[in-house]
Symmetry: none
Subunit: 167 residues, 2 copies
């Protein structure tokens, strides 16, 4: 498996530590985090949600690639640099597979007692569990609509509905 999949909820302990789900760790290990202990978890506030985005080397490379394409002293590059590099935190993963979330990141996502890790393929997000539930419910209803549109056009519809459970 080489993508972040499904959702896990873990607790934040008194020291602010959270265990990264084992399956996510496995993905990180084979994506750049492998080959060297030096790597870390790249983490930053989601631009359009009260959540955090995170990923491994692959994600970092992507950011680099974006910037590499822009001229050195352009305004555009400056803006992007600040928004990307400035907001990014490189979190180290301890021997037990845990990270500590800096205050600034916790604040953005309103994290206090627990964190929901949500796999999104090449990266994953970290949500405050309640907020994520709301968001998920919302996403589901939207999917429903989309699916019905699809069904109307090409499918016989009429299945139980459990099919689309996982978004």
């Amino acid at each position: 498996m080489d993508r972040f999949v499904s959702t896990f909820t873990n607790k934040i302990d008194a020291k602010g530590r959270v265990s990264i789900p084992a399956s996510f760790r496995a993905v990180l290990e084979r994506d750049g985090y492998a080959g060297g202990i030096a790597g870390g978890l790249y983490c930053y506030p989601s631009l359009d949600a009260q959540a955090l985005d995170a990923g491994g080397e692959r994600l970092a490379k992507k950011i680099d690639g974006l910037l590499a394409g822009l001229p050195d002293y352009s305004d555009e590059r400056d803006e992007l640099s600040v928004a990307l590099y400035g907001d990014v935190q490189v979190l180290s993963i301890d021997g037990d597979g845990r990270i500590v979330l800096p205050e600034s990141l916790r604040a953005h996502a309103h994290l206090d007692a627990a964190v929901s890790f949500v796999g999104l393929g090449e990266k994953f997000q970290m949500w405050e569990p309640k907020r994520f539930e709301e968001r998920r419910a919302e996403a589901r209803s939207k999917i429903q609509v989309t699916r019905k549109l699809f069904a109307a056009g090409s499918r016989p519809s009429g299945d139980g509905g459990d099919e689309g459970a996982r978004e």
Copy 2:
């Protein structure tokens, strides 16, 4: 890690000293600063912001490269030379990883009680914390716009929305 990443805020003490974030020091050490403690921190007023730019050997080389690209006796080159080299200071880093900012530099960035160190990949900036927060907010909102334009113009849409956040 060989790039300046993320943001740290440290205090200026009564003697005008500031600690350089440990992770930035690590980057400096392997970039030209390595090979000898003799090296220093290249630091100059940002051309387009009330902040300071700083970096190690790699940054110095880059500036050289920039200038090399311009015709020898052009006005452009003269202006850039003055703008860049003219105000460059080579700051020494003491045994505890601290620097002292000359008055001229402090004035340009309005630094007094604390400094925010902002990683920008190959270099970093030093900001008065409040000013940086404003700048960051601005950069973020601009990125929002850029991203939405991207999404609207070239992407099939229909994804959750946050997936492509940083692309």
